[in-house]
């Protein structure tokens, strides 16, 4: 017979107990970039709100986001979008049951890292 009270479920183990590997690092980076993009999302909404408010307020917010610090945050956010984008596509591929052997998974990891940098540079050139 089952015990009447279910045991408390365990939390995820601490990341520090694992030896760093390309596959785990690129996976963790997916989570970090995805969550860090809240900063870029907040700045974009602030910018839109300012655009809807008045030319003076827009000049203030737009100036802030295109200052050197704003440029740095937006460039990092751009890279975060591209990294998360590629890692997300990789996730969809993994989910369909493909590319899970270690050599392929490692190649896909490098594809995410190198691809995200290349796409960031290309986007900056286009803009």
């Amino acid at each position: 017979m089952a015990s009447p009270t279910p045991r408390e479920r365990p939390l995820s183990p601490h990341l520090t107990i694992y030896r760093p590997q390309l596959t785990s690092m690129t996976s963790i980076l997916t989570r970090i970039t995805g969550n860090a993009l809240i900063v870029g999302a907040f700045l974009m909404v602030w910018w839109l709100g300012a655009l809807a408010t008045s030319p003076e307020y827009f000049a203030f917010v737009d100036g802030l986001i295109t200052s050197w610090l704003g440029d740095l945050v937006m460039t990092l956010s751009l890279w975060a979008v591209w990294y998360h984008y590629l890692a997300g596509l990789r996730h969809l591929y993994f989910d369909s049951g493909h590319g899970l052997d270690i050599p392929t998974a490692e190649k896909l990891g490098w594809a995410c890292i190198i691809g995200s940098v290349v796409l960031t540079v290309l986007t900056l050139i286009i803009l």
């Binding site: 089952a2 479920r9 839109l48 709100g49 655009l51 986007t123």
Partner: protein, 123 residues
């Protein structure tokens, strides 16, 4: 004594208690975002720092306004679920609940603010 077996308690729900709903939503939203995010990056990147007149005219056009609205709406729902799993992985009890509620409130708050701004600019 309860006459519920472990199997009966687990059936169809999994660790999340919602079955595969979350996973399916993330797959669908990832696919949708993959379609529109590149276009959005170019629209927003070009409008940024291009001056009030130009930015206002750009964001007022149907395609930039729709793409931006969609990225914001779907992106924030995608974020809300991703962030919730992060919280569920590393916190428990009241901390977990407060953080999850905060993430949901923040997501809807940003979405509503952004959509209101877009409506005001475009209409």
């Amino acid at each position: 004594m309860r006459f519920l077996t472990d199997r009966k308690r687990a059936e169809g729900r999994g660790a999340s208690h919602t079955g595969t709903q979350h996973h399916w939503y993330m797959q669908v939203s990832a696919f949708g975002l993959a379609l529109i995010v590149p276009t959005f990056l170019v629209i927003f990147g070009r409008a940024l720092g291009s001056g009030y007149e130009n930015a206002f005219a750009t964001m007022g056009h149907p395609v930039p306004a729709i793409v931006t609205g969609l990225v914001l709406l779907v992106g924030m729902q995608h974020f809300r679920r991703g962030a919730q799993i992060l919280i569920e992985d590393y916190t428990r009890k009241s901390t977990r609940k407060v953080l999850i509620m905060s993430v949901i409130v923040l997501s809807y708050g940003l979405t509503a603010t952004g959509l209101f701004a877009l409506a005001k600019i475009a209409l």
